[in-house]
Amino acid sequence: MSNQKKRNFQIEAFKHRVVVDPKYADKTWKVLEHAIHEIYNHNASGLSFEELYRNAYNMVLHKFGEKLYSGLVTTMTSHLKEISKSIEAAQGGMFLEEMNRKWTDHNKALQMIRDILMYMDRTYIPSTQKTPVHELGLNLWRDNIIRSSKIQTRLLNTLLELVLRERTGEVINRGLMRNIIKMLMDLGPSVYQEDFENPFLEVSAEFYRGESQKFIECCDCGDYLKKAERRLNEELDRVTHYLDARSEAKITNVVEKEMIANHMLRLVHMDNSGLVNMLLDDKYEDLGRMYNLFRRVSNGLSTIREVMTSHLRETGKQLVTDPERLKDPVEFVQRLLDEKDKYDSIIRLSFSNDKTFLNALNSSFEFFINLNNRSPEFISLFVDDKLRKGLKGVSEEDVEIILDKVMMLFRYLQEKDVFEKYYKQHLAKRLLSGKTVSDDAERSLIVKLKTECGYQFTSKLEGMFTDMKTSQDTMQGFYASHPELGDGPTLTVQVLTTGSWPTQPSVTCNLPSEMSALCEKFRSYYLGTHTGRRLSWQTNMGTADIKASFGKGQKHELNVSTYQMCVLMLFNNAERLSYKEIEQATEIPTVDLKRCLQSMACVKGKNVLRKEPMSKDIGEDDAFFVNDKFTSKLYKVKIGTVVAQKESEPEKQETRQRVEEDRKPQIEAAIVRIMKSRRALDHNNIISEVTKQLQSRFLANPTEIKKRIESLIERDFLERDSIDRKLYRYLA
């Protein structure tokens, strides 16, 4: 049974009734052979397809398949040998033309032959595992024409020469090229590769090696890249016009390797025109070209990135450590912003917004901004400057843009808490002196800080705004309940919540009697409405408007600080006061008093006081008079104190110390939080976790963390493991 199943059921070809004439096969073959000759000679029109087909059919049917097949091979071979001779004979440019024409003829003939011998293709060839007619025709063509000794090298050389001529700028017959290349592809991928592609790639590599050497000696980087790009495009063009699409990757690889990869470092570091110069001169186009070309080779982009990063770090470092630049914080930050803008646009325009480049840019900025530990202060000063005066006449969107940029720098800061400290101080000054330009801008910045660093970061800043608002209401209430105060001096009090505002050592001074009476009234009013509170006066932050008349009777309104007001009021009752007398009467701290006297006696145009002896600095033995000769074009004169914009060295130390103090509880809190959830953890892990937790605010110092851990151990929050001394345990 199984045996029978395996056997394919087959109907044997019907035995023809015709008794086979022994000459039958030869006769039939003669007919077919003749037909093949006719086909090659373009004389097929008279032939009957049916007759030829029937003859071939009958030959196969009568077991003359072998004769038919070998006859075909011999006939076709002899024809191809003739063709080969005529191609060999073609001179110069005609060579390819002739080959192309013969190829077209052969193809057509082959198709016709295949059609009439179809029955053989169908039955005889599969059963004897011979090559089908069409493929046979191609193979014979390959062996007799393409690989004949007289043609093979000539063909290759001709093709390569044409390519070379095209590379040097001549126009060649691309159509013909395409046909010949197509012929090679039709003959099978191996023919195309062996007889054309591989030598082509070798010759190309040779060519570009030489050319790139020549270019790099005489061109600058930008020109070189332009040339490389053009060559690359030419090769791509060539591929689309007459090469196999699969050659594209190979040939571009050759160009990339020879023209870019081999010269990459030299290009990047080229004197006067390399990458650094492009960056300096904002050569977006050249940079874009470099990016696109280098992207093609491995390590290309990382090379660009490394050079850019090191250049950025270098210039950035110079920028933040150059003592000249540090004199003006506003300009310092502006320079940082400009630098950032510059590189942002380079990356956007030339490096197609590549993420890795943006990251490199960010990390470089982070690197050098934190090299200078005054960066947080300067950034805050920049904001202060912008919000005080810089934003006048600037549209809301522009304000947002500036603030966004500042936030971007802020993000780079490692010591965000230092920034917070300064920002708080500057904000307090702005709010109290009423100098802030736009409430909206202030608030929008706070919202930004909040999204960046969380509620905790800004809660105190927001408290400051609330205080300002409630103070306004309180003042309205105060004057409503004391209608008799309308005529005398006006007092505006801002009630500040301790803790929300930067703590200032509370130094009081003796206010003029008119004022202190008023202050007392306010105190009793305020404590009357809010029980259980304590008020203390922060005279060092206030301002006052006073009216003064000078020698020739001209009147001016002077805008001064509280301290200055106290000093000036003394002159209502005296002509001449010595420094000592002023100090005694007002009890203003020495530093502040000197500063305020200096601003009133030594600044040209604002010198409402006269001083003896005349000098730039205030001495302990100086005497002061009202300057009767004071004149000013303006009715309102604003006398600012000589404020150090930047913090002086001791102030800076103090702030730093305060920041360090503030960090301690934060570090401790972080340690306790971590230990509470982990129960036991070794030293290194604690350090890394704490650092991670506090990253958004500042970069915690490992030795400081260690100190905090020890302090917590002393206070029985943690203990050391009795066996592993590096392990800590949390004590509930």
């Binding site: 049916e50 087909y53 198709q111």
Partner: protein
């Protein structure tokens, strides 16, 4: 029926069947005859002579061509073959590659 769209099939006895080219091309052999790039006599004159196919069989074959087109377009009916024609019909089918 325009002339370019038809082909004339001639039997051994000289009977002529004029049918659509589409139908005739159901046979691979006839398709090759009519589409081969060289200008064979058949392509030029639009007629094919089959000296080894009798009129009866050629008629059946023509019927089959049309039946096949119908069948391919979804109308599935039976094609009836008289038993006495079977052998010759199969030979012709092999020849015509149908």
């Amino acid at each position: 029926m325009r002339k370019e769209e038809t082909v004339k099939l001639i039997s051994a006895e000289g009977f002529e069947f004029v049918i659509h080219k589409d139908a005739a091309m159901v046979s691979q052999t006839i398709r090759n005859m009519l589409t081969s790039p060289g200008s064979f006599a058949e392509t030029e004159h639009g007629e094919v002579t089959f000296p080894e196919i009798s009129t009866t069989i050629l008629e059946k074959i023509c019927k089959y061509f049309y039946w096949n087109l119908q069948y391919a377009s979804g109308k599935q009916t039976e094609f009836h073959i008289e038993p006495e024609l079977v052998l010759e019909l199969m030979m012709a089918a092999n020849y015509l590659h149908t």
